[in-house]
Assembly symmetry: C2
Homo-oligomer: 382 residues x 2
């Protein structure tokens, strides 16, 4: 194997794949990245057996070959190299038993990194590219960030440890819940989509990795500005294709809860108010919430919204906000952390809260327009 490339291309390729490599005592090679050079293509891959990621980088191929080296070491090293041409090569080992090394040279730096043969690296699965869905990268990124925080961390219910992806007609609906609150977002699919209506559960870890990669595209130094992401669904697997980058993951097995049935269809009180003001009032009240309960009170009366909390040890806080209240006088007690999570994800100046009473879920949306985002909090019953 013998290649050369710019420091930027090497660094960016390693940034994409190196994160997924991880320490695994049973299979130490998972700590490595796989470098494959074949027919003028340079490809880096890594896997943790649940997620596989690969990336093709630009460079000049002088000799085909493949090799694996420790992911973190080569990524840290490449990041320190000057922005110059870098030569990478693996020589055929001459003596039996001698460790093979990846030689890297760049300007005044010369390095030899020990590695393992590519033959020991696990296969990253492939899927049939049949069920294709296309959407805008940054829209998908924003949609994931609006729901992923609500994913449950519980290990007893694996089906809510992921985000529900429901492909239906021209839309993808994403939903996440930990049974205390629920976030749901709808995104338009691109015209090239030709997949069938299907629902799957994507592990939160996979989406975090996807977010990391999508986030790097905002960086001017990123590999390229990719507009669309292609999503393919296979048997128990999902593949995200972003230009020269591929991320494949297993899906979560099981049945996602039928969350639509808990979304209240009616309400007794609707409140429209400034989001920034409500966030600020919830934060000041939060300092006086009871520890472990995180309870703050929301009271709605005529055109006055009162956000308050009281605590035997610390004292109490009352903030008054103005807003537009329609329907009856009402009140609800909520966990301020769940309230803030939802409010901070609304892309608007004003929110609309809908309430039946203090014993039923509170629905939060962007005010004034047909919202593609919905957030629901279960009340703390007194």
């Amino acid at each position: 194997m013998k290649i050369s490339c710019t420091q930027e291309n090497l660094n960016q390729g390693l940034f994409i794949v190196s994160h997924i490599a991880s320490k695994n005592m049973a299979l130490p090679i998972l700590n490595n990245i796989l470098i494959q050079v074949d027919k003028n293509t340079i490809k880096f891959s890594a896997t943790n057996l649940e997620i596989g990621v690969s990336c093709i980088i630009r460079g000049k191929v002088e000799e085909d070959g493949e090799f694996t080296v420790q992911s973190r070491l080569i990524a840290d090293y490449a990041a320190l190299l000057p922005k110059e041409k870098i030569d990478l090569s693996v020589a055929e080992s001459k003596k039996e038993g001698e460790d093979q090394v990846l030689a890297i040279s760049c300007k005044n730096h010369n390095t030899k990194i020990k590695g393992q043969p590519a033959a020991d690296f696990p296969l990253i699965p492939q899927i049939d590219r049949k069920n294709l869905y296309v959407m805008n990268c940054q829209e998908l990124r924003r949609a994931i960030s609006q729901v992923i925080f609500a994913v449950s961390g519980s290990e007893t219910r694996p089906e809510i440890n992921g985000v529900f992806f429901k492909f239906e007609g021209d839309n993808l609906v994403l939903a996440a819940t930990d049974s205390y609150r629920l976030a749901e977002k709808s995104v338009k699919l691109g015209k090239k989509s030709k997949g069938t209506n299907q629902s799957v559960i994507v592990p939160a870890r996979t989406l975090q990795e996807l977010q990391r990669i999508l986030g790097s595209f905002k960086d001017p130094a990123a590999i390229s500005e990719i507009e669309d992401v292609e999503i393919y669904l296979g048997e128990n697997q999902i593949l995200f294709v972003l230009g020269d980058i591929e991320l494949i993951s297993r899906l979560v097995e099981g049945q996602y809860p039928d969350y639509r049935q808990i979304i209240p269809k009616e309400s007794n009180t609707k409140i429209v108010l400034n989001i920034a003001e409500l966030i600020n009032a919830a934060k000041t009240a939060s300092l006086f919430a009871r520890s472990g309960i995180y309870d703050i009170n929301l009271d709605f009366n005529k055109d006055e919204i009162v956000v308050s909390a009281a605590n035997n040890q610390l004292g109490e806080n009352i903030s008054k906000l103005s807003g537009k209240i329609s329907g009856q006088q009402n009140s609800i007690v909520v966990n301020y952390r769940y309230l803030l999570d939802g409010l901070q994800n609304l892309d608007a100046e004003e929110a609309e809260l809908s309430i039946i009473d203090g014993g039923n879920p509170c629905v939060i949306k962007t005010a004034g327009k047909d919202s593609d985002y919905l957030y629901i909090i279960m009340p703390i019953k007194q």
Copy 2:
């Protein structure tokens, strides 16, 4: 007690003092700040019994009095309030056994914070303001940052857990060591200084707190731009006065080691080289240093500097730098963390390294001029 002030003044005063208040199971009131209003002066104080800090804030006094409230709670709360006028008051308790509260109101926010009577708050010691030394705030801040990282964390030798302050003539010399490396910095004293020649050891924790306060002066929102710091030495105590802010601390008892004797007076090799290049080469080599030993090799031969490291598990790295070498061919093995610490504190483009041999300390200074900063690393002997 009844006062009013701007949110900015309240917030800044709390920023200065609240950090030193800390959880103390034996004396819970140390978690509070003391608010004293007396003769048109509003003063906030906090102490951990080793360090005491106080700050006078601007505001309007309507009624004298004093009270203590939980430091973190009031600081977090004040930071969330709008930039408006804030009213603070403590009412005399009417019923026996009723908790006293500090009432805070600002625009639409109304709060009551429970507190404890000021009578229970420990006295913060005062010292005779005789031995005065004056110096520029930001020069002192920079000098402390150039030495404090070398302070020992060892508990068996408390005398090197602090920074050595030697007031001598027109200069203050600061020194710190953990016996593996040593940093020494000299600062000019201001003309108003009238203290005698003295040496003391100031606890690292005290200087970290001073740095935090000095650092806040760069913030445009800080209380005021204070140019000079006044330092007073008392029996076992040191007082730093920064305008309306006072920081008093106990001193470390014991004799500081006579570190001057270990500074080599001669050398066999002097090397002048670019600091950024040496930092980069040390970082790339560091990836191949042996774990727990952190060893990298520096070789000096004619006009070539070779920085290298090798590791049985990982591989090896060699970087070549150009520089000006005078004297004999030489080499030394050093801990890369200690080398980087020193290099990152030199205010220059080029460093001068002086070496006797691989068995003696390496001296690092700014090249070309009479340096007021000196850094010494003990070698790793092979």
